[in-house]
């Protein structure tokens, strides 16, 4: 195959496209029927009026009226993946950007599986910043395949050789005979053409859309006019709205509840018990909210988490000092190395639980009948959501239909099916009498949700007489994200990779190292949170590396450069961030203490460096400017990559400055944006993003912007004030004392 970009080895996409092809037949006047046909050499063809047949592949549909619809297996949750996938298809297809539309794929594996998440193709899921990466070759081939079929159809119709046909901007042309026609004119004929075995994708030198500085997002208009439809906006006839009351403590169970009192309230149609919770079903949202205020539930919290945060941290510290730990990584002879060190640094870090607090509170609409369950929601893990819904409904997975809508932010929260199971359970408990729209309030979201795990790190690092980093030991204590979930198989050797990767030994060349992990147990449900383990691992790594630089008497950037070994991408990223941040020039003076801090981190295949400039006045930390350099391989949609870096920085900065979920006697202390503050317009630094030019296959952009910002800011605060930050969120009053 000519011009294939470098990428990890996995299944042959050419064979996949050929085997699995959708054929679509229109029946005059009565809408569309989708027939899924798997053929090999002898593909069966749907019958139907030729003029009305539409050309369809699993990822692309071209209609006779010249619309090109890209079918996205990935959820659009703000990260811009719909636009990115459209750009890849439109490029190889040589379509016009103006004729492109996008729709979300139905649930179907392995057809719509995330090719990188699970090699067996069982998971239709968006996450791990791998949507573009896993779709890159797949959609390039899909676009090129459909283009070849259109060209063949045109050649046959015009009775000219295939290689005399050109395609550009959605138009096929035969220069010699001055004939041209739009794609749509050949859609029907192309549907009858044999699917080519091999197709060539473009050389990146010929890209017209991919890598283009600004490609208009496919969703900007709808989202700027109130027309984008989210789960809560779905209106079905006779639909009821449900809210759920859960125990204030995680793991609490329903003992009893007073149904009668609530049934008497205006608009209430039912009060039902679902798993460990009670749901109120009412005619309108407000009526459900009012009714929930009066609902009295007695909880059995005997099995619930009842500790307060200080107790849990104390337990984590105790585990961190103990011997019970699984080895994450090991190299050299750590004890011998420490005995030779002339300077050592010892540090303990504490990280709180964090909420996702995405703008759209969780919700789902469910329509349940005896043999079918239809769901509308911003589904992030469709294959798993379908299985969980089927189990809750007492149906087969094939009887569950999920309509994936836009999600109002997820940051990993929608990777759990809990909210969908709640909605389906309510529909089942009300015998499918009416469609159910179940929604969470902001209080539910902050107090009764799933969180980025609390973590404790203990690090000991040593420099030799020349000031080189020669020994690094780290203990990590935190809950496992994967144990007991469908992704349990990823836990290897007692280590959950989503709890520990991102440590300094992985990011730098350190000759002697020992990284260990102890799984902590707490009753608080945990969940993937933007950048997952990197959200805490990068903090301790980059703060310690920075302090080691200071201890060794070296510039923080030069110190990092000395540890990079063969990491050429990191070297270039650091070089560029130094240039773009004017690293060697003094900061302009302002009222308050000014400081500049650096962090470098590789996550999800992408390398990011950030320099933060801060001004500290008393206890107040103000971040003035962030310079961000990113190497994510080919930037398919550069403006969206920039937007994702801005987004990741704001998300991480919010957590660094404000984010903490704490418990008192097992009950979450916070409840809404008032006591779980997040970054607002007035707090916003100036962010400058620079993308390193690359010919590598695309890697991720959704999460990698988040890990470096907290350590960059902490390092800047230390540069400004000398204060070492060991806990997040940054609290100078506390940090000064310790």
């Amino acid at each position: 195959m000519a011009n294939r970009p470098a990428s990890p080895a996995h299944s042959d996409d050419g064979a996949l496209n050929r085997r699995e092809f959708l054929r679509l037949t229109t029946i005059a006047g009565s809408g569309l029927t989708i027939g899924l046909v798997f053929g090999s050499a002898g593909c069966s063809r749907s019958e139907g009026p030729v003029a009305q047949r539409t050309l369809v592949s699993p990822f692309i549909r071209i209609s006779p009226d010249n619309k090109v619809t890209v079918i996205s297996k990935h959820l659009e949750m703000g990260q811009g993946i719909h636009t990115g996938l459209c750009a890849i298809v439109a490029e190889e297809l040589d379509a016009a950007w103006s004729q492109i539309e996008v729709e979300d794929a139905p649930v179907q594996v392995p057809l719509y599986a995330n090719l990188f998440m699970d090699p067996q193709g069982r998971m239709q899921v968006t996450g791990g910043s791998m949507s573009t990466a896993n779709s890159w070759e797949q959609l390039r081939k899909a676009g090129a395949t459909v283009r070849a079929m259109l060209v063949r159809a045109a050649a046959e119709q015009w009775a000219v050789p295939v290689d005399e046909i050109t395609a550009s901007d959605g138009v096929l042309s035969h220069g010699a005979s001055k004939r041209s026609a739009p794609f749509g004119a050949f859609a029907s004929e192309a549907a009858r053409v044999p699917i080519p075995e091999r197709v060539e994708v473009k050389s990146p030198a010929n890209f017209k859309l991919i890598g283009k500085e600004v490609l208009p997002r496919v969703d900007s208009r709808a989202k700027s006019t109130g027309r984008e439809r989210y789960g809560m906006d779905v209106m079905l006839p006779n639909m009821m709205t449900a809210l759920v009351t859960r125990s204030p403590r995680f793991g609490g169970k329903v003992k009893s509840f007073d149904k009668e009192a609530v049934m008497a309230l205006p608009g209430v149609v039912d009060v039902v018990e679902i798993s460990n919770a009670v749901a109120i079903v009412a005619q309108s949202t407000w009526q459900a909210m009012q009714a929930r205020k009066t609902l009295m539930v007695e909880w059995d919290d005997s099995g619930a988490e009842s500790r307060s945060s200080p107790e849990i941290f104390a337990e984590y510290r105790r585990l961190g000092a103990g011997k019970d730990a699984a080895t994450v990584a090991k190299a050299g002879d750590i004890e011998a190395a420490f005995s030779r060190c002339s300077k050592t640094l010892i540090a303990e870090f504490e990280f709180p639980y964090l909420a996702h607090a995405m703008m759209e509170p969780l919700n789902a609409v469910v329509k349940l009948s005896p043999d079918r369950c239809e769901i509308w929601t911003g589904s992030q893990f469709q294959s798993n959501d379908r299985l969980a819904a089927a189990e809750a409904a007492g149906l087969e997975p094939e009887q569950v239909v999920i309509n994936t809508l836009a999600a109002g932010g997820s940051f990993g929260r929608r990777g759990a099916p809990d909210y969908i199971v709640e909605a389906v359970s309510i529909a089942k408990a009300t015998a499918g009498k009416f469609p159910i729209r179940m929604l969470w309030t902001r209080e539910d979201d902050i107090q009764n949700s799933r969180y980025r795990p609390m973590n404790y790190h203990s690090i000991r690092a040593g420099l030799d007489t020349r000031g080189a980093l020669v020994a690094f030991r780290q203990r990590i204590v935190g809950q496992s994200l994967l144990a007991g979930t469908p992704l349990d198989w990823m836990v290897q050797g007692g280590v959950d990779p989503t709890a520990v990767s991102g440590h300094a030994f992985e990011q730098y060349d350190i000759p002697n190292a020992e990284i260990t992990w102890t799984q902590a147990n707490a009753g608080v449900p945990v969940q993937f949170w933007r950048s997952v383990q990197h959200s805490h691992m990068a903090f301790s790594a980059e703060v310690i590396i920075d302090e080691l630089a200071e201890l060794s008497g070296h510039d923080p950037l030069a110190f990092r450069q000395s540890l990079l070994g063969e990491r050429t991408r990191q070297r270039e990223v650091l070089r560029l961030v130094a240039e773009k941040s004017q690293w060697n020039q003094p900061l302009t003076k302002r009222d308050g203490k000014r400081g500049r801090g650096l962090a470098l981190h590789e996550a999800f295949g992408t390398v990011v460096a950030q320099v933060a400039e801060v001004t500290v006045t008393g206890e107040l930390v103000r971040v003035d400017r962030v310079v961000c350099v990113v190497d994510c391989g080919i930037a398919v949609t550069p403006d969206i990559v920039r937007a994702q870096m801005e987004s990741g920085i704001v998300f991480g900065l919010s957590a660094a400055l404000f984010g903490k979920i704490t418990l008192t006697d097992g009950v979450v202390d916070q409840s809404n944006y008032g006591d779980y503050p997040v970054l607002r317009m007035a707090d916003m630094p100036r962010i400058e993003v620079h993308i390193v030019p690359s010919a590598n296959a695309p890697s991720g952009a959704g999460e990698p912007g988040t890990p470096p910002i907290a350590p960059a800011v902490a390092n800047a605060v230390r540069a400004a004030t000398g204060i070492r930050i060991r806990q997040l969120p940054i609290d100078l009053a506390t940090a000064r004392k310790s």
Partner: protein, 157 residues
Amino acid sequence: MAFTIRVNGTTREVSVDPETPLLWVLRDELRLTGTKFGCGMAMCGACTVHMDGQAVRSCMLPVSYATGEIVTIEGLAGAAAAAIQKAWIDSSVPQCGYCQSGQIMSATALLQKTPQPSDSDIDSAMTGNICRCGTYQRIRSAIHSAVESLRKRPVPK
């Protein structure tokens, strides 16, 4: 209880409890779902609409107090609105988009009152609108673009 409210230039009649926040009347009774629910405590701005030209948080405005001319995202019109929405699209402001109806309503109210806002004016007007996707920098530059395009447009003679 029956209420008459003016929404997007039309008189609408609804029958709800007087304490029902305008947000839920708009969404559940009038099926105008462009205005969003984010917090229910007037802290996030997702529910922002205009009443008599002012940006108000509809999640905490009981319908019995919604006695003025209400404009929602669906009914937004006029030069300032058009400039704002065009700037939003041209600058690719929205990411998940959920906060953007509220952002646009706040930004439009700002420009209708203050055609040449300073960055400090923008901070004050917009800091009530949370964006978890972090589009603040683009919102600010889109507001400046809109101001510029309004400034340059031909004045009718």
